[in-house]
C-alpha cells in the first residue's frame, strides 16, 4: 500500500460513530418535543418567578399561578359554562354554515367560467371589505343574540373558504380533464374523480385562513354585543380589573384555535395521503 502511505496523498477516512450514552440517544430521537416543551415551560417559569419577585407587574400581567387559580374558580360557576356553551354555539353554527355554503357554491361558481366572471367583483369586494365594519349593521339586522354573532363568524369563514375554492376549481389540471373526456366520463364522475379531489388542497388552505377569521369574528361579535360568551367574560373581567380572569379567557380562545388548526391539519393529512410527504412536514 505505497499509495495510501505516500505523503503526496491525503487519505479520507470513513466516519467512525462513537456509541452515545442512552440519555443522549433518547434526546436525539425526541429533540423536537423536548425543545418545544422546554420553551413553553421556561416562559411560564420566568413569568411566575418574575411576578413573585416583582419584575413583572402582577396588576397588569398577572402570573401563571394566579391564572390557574382564576380558571379553577371559573369552572365551578354555572355562568362560565353558559358562556362556553354560547360561544361554542356561535362558532359551530357560524363556521358550519360558512363551510356548508362556501364549498358547494365555490365549486359551482368556479366550474362555470361565466358565473365566475360575474361573481368575481363581488367576491373580491367582500373579501377586501373589513368585516368588522359590518358588525353594527349585523346588530341592526339580527339584534344582540347569539345568532348575530354567528353571522359575524359566518362572514369571516365564508369568504376565506369560497375564494380559494373557486380558484381551485378554475385551476383543475387540463390534461387530467382531457383524460376524463377521452374516456367519456360522465359529468358526475368528472366531479367526483377530478374536480373535488383537485380542489381539496385549496379548500383546506381556505379552512386554515377561516380558523383565524371565525375566532376573530366570535370575539369581536361578543365584545360588541356584550350579552353572553367567553368574549363577554374577558370584557367584564377588564371592567373589574381582573387580569387573571381576562388571561384565562384569552387562554380558552388560544386552546380553541390550536384545536381547530390541528383538526384542519388532520383532515388535510387524511385527504392527501396521495401526496408525497415533504421534508419540512416530516
Amino acid at each position: 500500500m505505497t499509495v495510501a502511505t505516500s505523503p503526496a496523498f491525503r487519505t479520507i477516512h470513513p466516519r467512525v460513530r462513537k456509541p452515545r450514552p442512552a440519555l443522549m440517544r433518547w434526546y436525539r430521537r425526541n429533540e423536537r418535543v423536548v425543545l418545544s416543551v422546554a420553551g413553553v415551560v421556561l416562559f411560564f417559569v420566568v413569568w411566575e418567578i418574575g411576578s413573585a419577585a416583582g419584575f413583572v407587574d402582577k396588576f397588569f400581567f398577572s402570573s401563571p399561578s394566579a391564572i390557574a387559580t382564576a380558571g379553577a374558580s371559573e369552572v365551578t360557576k354555572a355562568r362560565f359554562w353558559d358562556d362556553v356553551r354560547i360561544t361554542a354555539l356561535e362558532l359551530v353554527v357560524g363556521t358550519g354554515a360558512s363551510v356548508v355554503l362556501a364549498v358547494p357554491l365555490g365549486i359551482f361558481i368556479g366550474w362555470y367560467r361565466r358565473l365566475s366572471l360575474t361573481f368575481d367583483p363581488w367576491l373580491n369586494f367582500f373579501n377586501a371589505l373589513p368585516r368588522v365594519a359590518l358588525v353594527p349593521l349585523v346588530v341592526l339586522w339580527f339584534g344582540l343574540d347569539w345568532n348575530m354573532k354567528a353571522v359575524v363568524v359566518f362572514l369571516g369563514g365564508f369568504f376565506a373558504i369560497i375564494l380559494p375554492t373557486v380558484e381551485g376549481v378554475r385551476t383543475v389540471e387540463r390534461h387530467l380533464l382531457d383524460v376524463s373526456r377521452s374516456f367519456r366520463a360522465s359529468s358526475r364522475l368528472i366531479f367526483t374523480s377530478l374536480v373535488i379531489p383537485g380542489t381539496l388542497p385549496f379548500i383546506v388552505s381556505g379552512l386554515r385562513i377561516a380558523v383565524g377569521r371565525v375566532l376573530a369574528g366570535v370575539v369581536i361579535g361578543e365584545f360588541y354585543a356584550q350579552t353572553q360568551g367567553i368574549g363577554v367574560m374577558i370584557y367584564k373581567a377588564e371592567a373589574s380589573l381582573q387580569s387573571d380572569r381576562m388571561l384565562f379567557g384569552v387562554l380558552i380562545f388560544t386552546v380553541l384555535g390550536i384545536v381547530l388548526y390541528e383538526s384542519v391539519g388532520a383532515a388535510e393529512r387524511y385527504f392527501q395521503r396521495w401526496r408525497p410527504v415533504r421534508e419540512d412536514e416530516a
Binding site: 390534461h175 387530467l176 382531457d178 377521452s182 374516456f183 367519456r184 366520463a185 374523480s193 396521495w274
Partner: protein, 270 residues
Amino acid sequence: MTIDVAREPGQHMALSARGVQMEYRDRQTGHRLLALERVDLDIPDGAFVSLLGPSGCGKSTFLKIVNGLILATAGEIKLHRVAKGREDAMVFQDAALFPWYSVVDNVAYGLVCAGVSRKEARSRAVPYIDLVGLKGFADKYPYQLSGGMQQRANLARALAVDSAILLMDEPFASLDAQTRELMQAELLRIWTAARKTVLFVTHQIDEAVFLSDRVVVMAARPGRVIADIAIDLPRPRSLEMKQTPEFARYEAQIWKLIAHQQPSDTAPVP
C-alpha cells in the same frame, strides 16, 4: 366532420380517415391557420402505424380528433366497430395519472367511465397491471412511481378498456434515453400479447422505425402527410436491430424527407 363507426363486417380497416382538415382562426389577427390539410390515412386491423413529424405538424391534433377530444373542421374518420367496449383509447403524453388514485384505481378509470362498478373495474384492471410489468405496485400512488412506471400505468389504463385501437401520443417523450429504449421494447412485447391496432405519434425517427409496420411522415404549415413508408423489418424485433444497416437505411430515408422541409417551419401551430 363526422366520426363514423363502420358496421360492415369484412372491412379490415381499423381506422380510415378521408380529407381530415383542421382549421383555426387566430383570434387577434383573424387569419386562418391550417393545422391539418386533407389528411387521408388507412390503418389495417392489428397494424402498428406511427405518425412522425416535427412539432406543429398536427400529428397530436389528428390523434385527438380520432379520440373525439377535438372536432375537425372537415373530412371524416371511420373506426371499425367492436362488439363490446370502446373503439379507441388514448395513451397520454405526460402519463396524466390521477395523483389521488392508486395505480389500480388509475388503471380501472377507463372502465369506471364506461359504467363498470368500481369493484369489478379494479379486478379487471389487475391482469393489465401485470401485463405492463407493474405487478406488486397496484396500491402505490403515482408519486411513488418512476417516470417509466407511470407510463406503464398510463398504457395499462388504455389497454384495460379493451379498445380495438390504441392511440399513443408521444408516450415516451419525457423519459430519459435508456428508459425510453426499454419502454419501446416493452411496448412491442405488450403489443404482441394484446394484439391491438396502434396509432403511435412521435417525433423520434428511430422510435417510429423500430416500432412500426408503417411510418407516416408529416410536415408542418400546413400539417400534412408527405410520405407513407412501410418498414419491412422482421418481427419480433429487439433493440439490437437498431444497429443493423437496414434500420439505418430507413432512418436515413426518413431523415432526408424531414430535412427537406424548411427548418423555420417548426414553430408550433397554436
